[in-house]
């Protein structure tokens, strides 16, 4: 009896002793980090611009008239609201042809980052918008009265004042990206998601699934911890 339990445990952990498996796991982690980093940077850059436009349009009086109409119709309604209602699993499949046109392939971290970015930009843009909305109106009035241009109002006052909420928004978005990247891995992105699927699901090597799980949990905890730390550092309220 006791011998069979030991044998079962040996079976369970056997895949982890296979030659080269830890290198495969390491490569998968690097691919995941690449996907998260590329799509994270792209999301923050594009999403901040969209978020500022959404906020400026809802606040009124900052954007020129034509841009205001554009933002209300195209950005707010079409892009942000419609995109946000499409589940990521479906979005990434739909975007495969578009990805081929854009990066020439639908395989690898770079290709996966296209759908990851498009999937998280609307979410991040809304977070930026609400972060900016939290900025006290009196401060913006003060900045206007002192003769700030529209651009200065955004770049020198609104965004710096919203910095703690922005850092928190980036943290949440990066954590979401880690989750999405596992999904993107299944259709060609590679990374830890792909690894868990190939080894854990198709070859039934549950110990590898477990290792991926642990790495994911540690990764998310680390991101959240760093994000919270940074939020506190930039918060002078």
């Amino acid at each position: 009896m006791s011998q069979s339990v030991i044998l079962a445990a040996d079976d369970f952990f056997a895949p982890l002793k296979a030659t080269g498996i830890w290198k495969v796991i390491g490569d998968a982690l690097v691919e995941t980090l690449q996907m998260v980093a590329i799509s994270g940077i792209a999301t923050v850059l594009i999403g901040t611009v969209f978020g500022v436009l959404l906020w400026a349009s809802s606040r009124g009086g900052i954007l020129p008239k034509w841009l205001d109409v554009f933002v209300k119709v195209v950005l707010s309604w079409v892009i942000v609201n419609i995109l946000r209602s499409i589940p990521y699993a479906i979005l990434m499949l739909t975007l495969i042809p578009f990805t081929r046109i854009l990066v020439g392939t639908s395989l690898g971290p770079m290709a996966a980052s296209v759908s990851l970015t498009i999937g998280t930009v609307p979410f991040f843009a809304r977070l930026v918008e609400s972060a900016l909305r939290e900025v006290d109106r009196g401060k913006l009035d003060a900045a206007s009265v002192m003769g700030s241009s529209r651009f200065q109002l955004v770049s020198k006052v609104a965004l710096p004042e919203a910095r703690p909420a922005m850092v928190a928004a980036i943290t949440t978005t990066v954590v979401t990206l880690v989750g999405y990247s596992a999904m993107a891995g299944l259709i060609g992105g590679g990374g830890l998601g792909r690894l868990a699927y190939n080894y854990g699901y198709q070859r039934f090597e549950l110990s590898i699934m477990l290792v991926v799980l642990v790495i994911m949990v540690v990764l998310v905890q680390l991101i959240q911890f760093l994000g919270d730390r940074l939020t506190r550092v930039v918060d002078h309220r």
Partner: protein, 334 residues
């Protein structure tokens, strides 16, 4: 010299039209401190937003040294705004910036080099008595200190006019006194024209040279503080209030008289004279003496006994130099 002429502001929402300001005119000469007082809802906030060009007036003009600011837009408007420094009720400092970078902000947006603007901001912080607090964030400063930083920031772009919107309404009494003193100092040193919008009569008493009373969007009284007090109008009642009249109620047959004296006339023996004319003692029902704009003002309410010619006493006291009126509703004993 700041001149506001025939300024009106109307808000339209659907079918409802609200006339927040009606034909407001003001002229404040250089280096004068002018107070605008009014209860909440009188139109003070709307006036501030129009004076800072945050809102466009429906009609009328605002000009500084003869230049009409209401006609400007775009970059001209941005430049014009720098001629008016605004001090807010809640200092509205930028939390993400240190004190010195808050003060430097107006210079930063006008393109002054980092070195120059920080040097100037440090100078201004010293001027408002906050030497050494350059690196402090607003959350580390007290309410009074924040307001000092706010004043320094308002001064950074070398404005012609300092507009203070309820500058002390959020402060405790000792910070209030310090901030008012600072505004006075700044006026004396830099020769600024100052407009103070407030609901606090103590601000008018200690700070202002001239004052206007805003009621339902119009200016109902205006003039130098001495003139306005001597006129015995609505502002006099608020600036020199009488304490509650419970001590000596008016008995039936008696007539109440209010005796208002300004300046040296405060020293004259009005009550003794009234007693002499009445042929009996005239009791004081209530009284107060205030120091307003550096001069003294006294206001006494006396009870003229029954059967005495109150009109005669009124005209005699007026001849001595007092403003005498019969109060509209003196309290009568039950």
């Amino acid at each position: 010299m700041i001149t506001v002429s025939h300024l009106s502001k109307e808000f339209v929402s659907g079918d409802r039209r609200v006339q927040a300001l009606k034909d407001v005119s003001l002229a404040v000469p250089d280096a004068q401190i002018h107070g605008i007082v009014g209860q909440s809802g009188a139109g003070k906030s709307t006036l501030v937003r129009c004076l800072t060009l945050l809102d466009t007036p429906s009609s009328g003009t605002l000009s500084i040294d003869g230049q009409d600011l209401t006609a400007l837009s775009g970059t001209d408007l941005q430049a014009a705004r720098r001629r008016i420094g605004l001090v807010f009720q809640h200092a509205n400092l930028f939390d993400a910036r240190t004190a010195v970078r808050n003060v430097a902000y107006p210079l930063e947006i006008s393109g002054l080099s980092r070195e120059k603007r920080l040097a100037r901001a440090t100078e201004l912080l010293e001027l408002v008595g906050l030497k050494g607090a350059e690196g402090a964030y607003p959350s580390q400063l007290s309410g009074g200190q924040k307001q000092r930083v706010g004043i320094a920031r308002a001064l950074a772009a070398d404005p012609k006019v300092l507009l203070c919107d309820e500058p002390t309404s959020a402060l405790d009494p000792s910070s209030t006194a310090e901030v008012l003193q600072l505004i006075r100092d700044v006026r004396d040193r830099l020769g600024l024209t100052v407009l103070v919008i407030t609901h606090e009569m103590s601000v008018v008493k200690t700070l202002c040279d001239s004052v206007s009373l805003l009621q339902n969007g119009t200016i109902v009284e205006s003039g130098s503080v001495e003139e306005v007090v001597a006129s015995n109008g609505a502002l006099t009642q608020q600036l020199v209030p009488l304490p509650p009249l419970s001590a000596t109620p008016l008995r039936s047959g008696e007539t109440a008289l209010d005796i208002l004296a300004v300046g040296d006339a405060v020293d004259l023996p009005f009550v003794a004279e009234a007693s002499r004319l009445a042929g009996s003692d005239v009791p004081v029902m209530a009284g107060s003496i205030e120091r307003i704009a550096g001069g003294r003002v006294s206001r006494l309410r006396v009870a003229i006994p029954a059967g005495v010619d109150a009109d005669h006493i009124q005209s005699e006291l007026r001849r001595m130099g007092a403003t005498v009126t019969a109060p509209v509703s003196p309290e009568v004993a039950a």
